[in-house]
């Protein structure tokens, strides 16, 4: 039998009336991580494609980091989803016998498309020449890893490399709408539930998309700075300023969309509005302070100031580092406010339940922290295997 201690505690803390089945908050911290990680994937990829497709040369230093970060997080994206299932042993059914009217079922295919067709192929074509070179230069077992990674194609004539370049470009072009699809789809999983007025919004996929870009760009900004410090390399200030500029614009768009969603709710004031306005006051710390103030307004203020006046490099570096962390934390709380916030109030619109996750247990914070740490481990391995700084650039 399960342990119901948490539920008995929650029962004591029910505020107003909730339906009897609503005491248990079904989707916890792991489902907060799911859109968070997927967003980082999509955002990092979109930043990479800015460099490649839109030819933003200043972003050259972070192209490979963005791709590898996107890949590392993508490998982990489904882990929280599977871990939270009541029957994780049946997870494969979602791919074997998908129910086509279900947004969640289709996600599996969107995910696989993105992993197999977009990211893996793009990384492979981008690194193909280097993999061939490394498979000749390296010694010991690593040599054979590279040999396998060549997939038996050793042609690195200028003609073949040109082809790689061309195909890589096409994949990136296909990749941009795919990244939009990937994270817009995650938004749709929530936005399409008419039972929940906090989620049910046509803007949800768009809001998720922009918040994904914001978080992915911040992740790459953060990683680029940390990796450079570890490698004791000088940071490319033009690259940092360019990332900062894009982050500034997309933060404003993201904030505008989310504000529009809220303003619309307030003005239209549907039957659910009373409960939602109480919900927003209950989410004061995670919504008003963490998401809006620290996660959005402070970064917008700092980055906006830099668009008009550029202080010296040290101040800018520290500020960019701070901004990247603030935005990453802010977007985490944005996911929190959507997922947890949407389950705090009763569908009767007459009361609230509470959420308290323990540290231990299958759906505790401990697992969540572990799941967040794994992609950084994967990324470290990928950077060792495919070091961007050892690539041959023409």
């Amino acid at each position: 039998m399960g342990n119901f201690e948490n539920l008995y505690q929650a029962l004591q803390q029910v505020d107003g009336f909730i339906y009897p089945n609503e005491i248990e908050l079904r989707w916890g911290i792991l489902i907060v991580l799911y859109p968070y990680i997927t967003g980082l994937v999509a955002g990092a990829f979109i930043l990479a494609s800015l460099n490649r497709v839109f030819n933003v040369k200043a972003l050259n230093p972070i192209y490979e980091i963005s791709l590898l970060a996107s890949f590392s997080f993508l490998l982990v994206a489904t882990m929280p989803l599977v871990a939270h299932l009541g029957r994780p042993d049946r997870f494969y059914e979602m791919l074997m016998t998908p129910h086509f009217t279900s947004a969640m079922a289709i996600f599996g295919f969107v995910y696989l498309w993105y992993l197999m067709v977009v990211l893996l192929l793009e990384i492979w074509f981008d690194y193909r020449r280097d993999i061939v070179l490394w498979s000749n230069e390296k010694k010991g077992p690593v040599k054979y890893i590279y040999k396998i990674l060549t997939l038996g194609v050793f042609d690195i004539s200028p003609k073949a490399v040109k082809w790689d370049e061309k195909i890589g470009y096409i994949i990136t072009v296909v990749g941009i709408p795919s990244a939009f699809l990937l994270h817009g789809y995650v938004g749709f999983i929530f936005g399409s539930l008419k039972a929940n007025p906090w989620w049910s919004s046509v803007l949800m996929p768009v809001v998720f998309l922009f918040s994904a870009m914001v978080s992915g760009i911040s992740l790459v900004l953060f990683l680029y700075m940390v990796i450079s410090w570890i490698r004791k390399q000088k940071l490319d200030m033009q690259c940092l300023d360019t990332i900062g500029k894009f982050l500034f614009y997309i933060l404003i768009m993201d904030f505008t969309l989310e504000a529009l969603d809220q303003v619309h709710r307030i003005y239209v004031s549907e039957e659910s509005f009373d409960i939602i306005s109480i919900l927003m006051s209950k989410l004061f710390v995670t919504l008003t302070i963490m998401q809006v103030l620290l996660g959005t307004l402070v970064p917008v203020g700092i980055l906006g100031f830099f668009q008009f006046h550029k202080p010296n490099e040290i101040i800018r570096k520290i500020s960019y580092f701070l901004v990247s962390i603030l935005v990453l934390v802010g977007i985490f709380f944005m996911r929190w406010n959507v997922v947890i916030g949407g389950q705090l109030f009763s569908k009767s619109f007459l009361g609230f339940t509470t959420y308290k996750a323990s540290f231990f247990g299958a759906e505790g914070f401990g697992i969540a922290i572990l799941l967040m740490a794994i992609p950084f481990g994967i990324l470290a391995f990928m950077l060792w295997l495919l070091p961007p700084w050892k690539k041959t650039h023409e």
Binding site: N21, A103, K347
Partner: protein, 257 residues
Amino acid sequence: MEKENTKVSSRRDFFKKSGAIAGGLLLVSMLDPLKQIKALAGEKPKGKGAWYGIGVDLEKCIGCGSCAKACKTENNVPKEPFFFRSWVEQYSVTANGVVKVQSPNGGVDGFKQPVLDKEIEKSFFIPKSCNHCAKSPCEQVCPVGATFISPDGVVLVDETYCIGCGYCVQACPYACRYLHPVKHTADKCTLCYHRIKKGLAPACITVCPTGAKIYGDLNDKNSDLVKFIKEHNCTVLKPHLNTKPKFFYNALKEEAE
């Protein structure tokens, strides 16, 4: 050439057959005598089989909680007060218009009036369970199709197939579903499918001391349920969500809609 001919003719056959099926369906739908009630239930015309629904006369419900209790026993629903296939809510409206709602342990143990007698304007009970919606959002969102609508209109979960993602729990506007703490799969009212298929009434209906709750075949114009819907001013919960519930309430007060 020959191959091409076969292709052409098989395509023509296909159109002919589908045309015949579509025409046939149209004809059957035009001849359907129960169209009105089905429209209320949001049902696309089905075959000749039963199409089950539930009705409750709230004027008869005394809030004894027998239905909620019987459901727990009959269906082996976990006894903890967090899991219900069937429950009862008590609404108390004061003279000032304040609405108090409660459902302690789903009404299984009965109710105590939370408002002083002199302050009460009106008080009533509402038994609830799965609405067996004809356009059920839970069935729509199930990623593996473990939730399905039976040919007789009952929304069921295949517990040997459910992956326990909880998407259906989120999608149900009426909070009728929970994740079973032992099976770790979604669970909900089955309208006592194991009983109705043997001609027995669902447990909640069998035990109701005032006969407030009935079930029946919406396809059968002589059924008690169809008569009940015709004779009373029935409504469903959250009709604006267009889930087309098949759980019909008589005398549902505005405070509870």
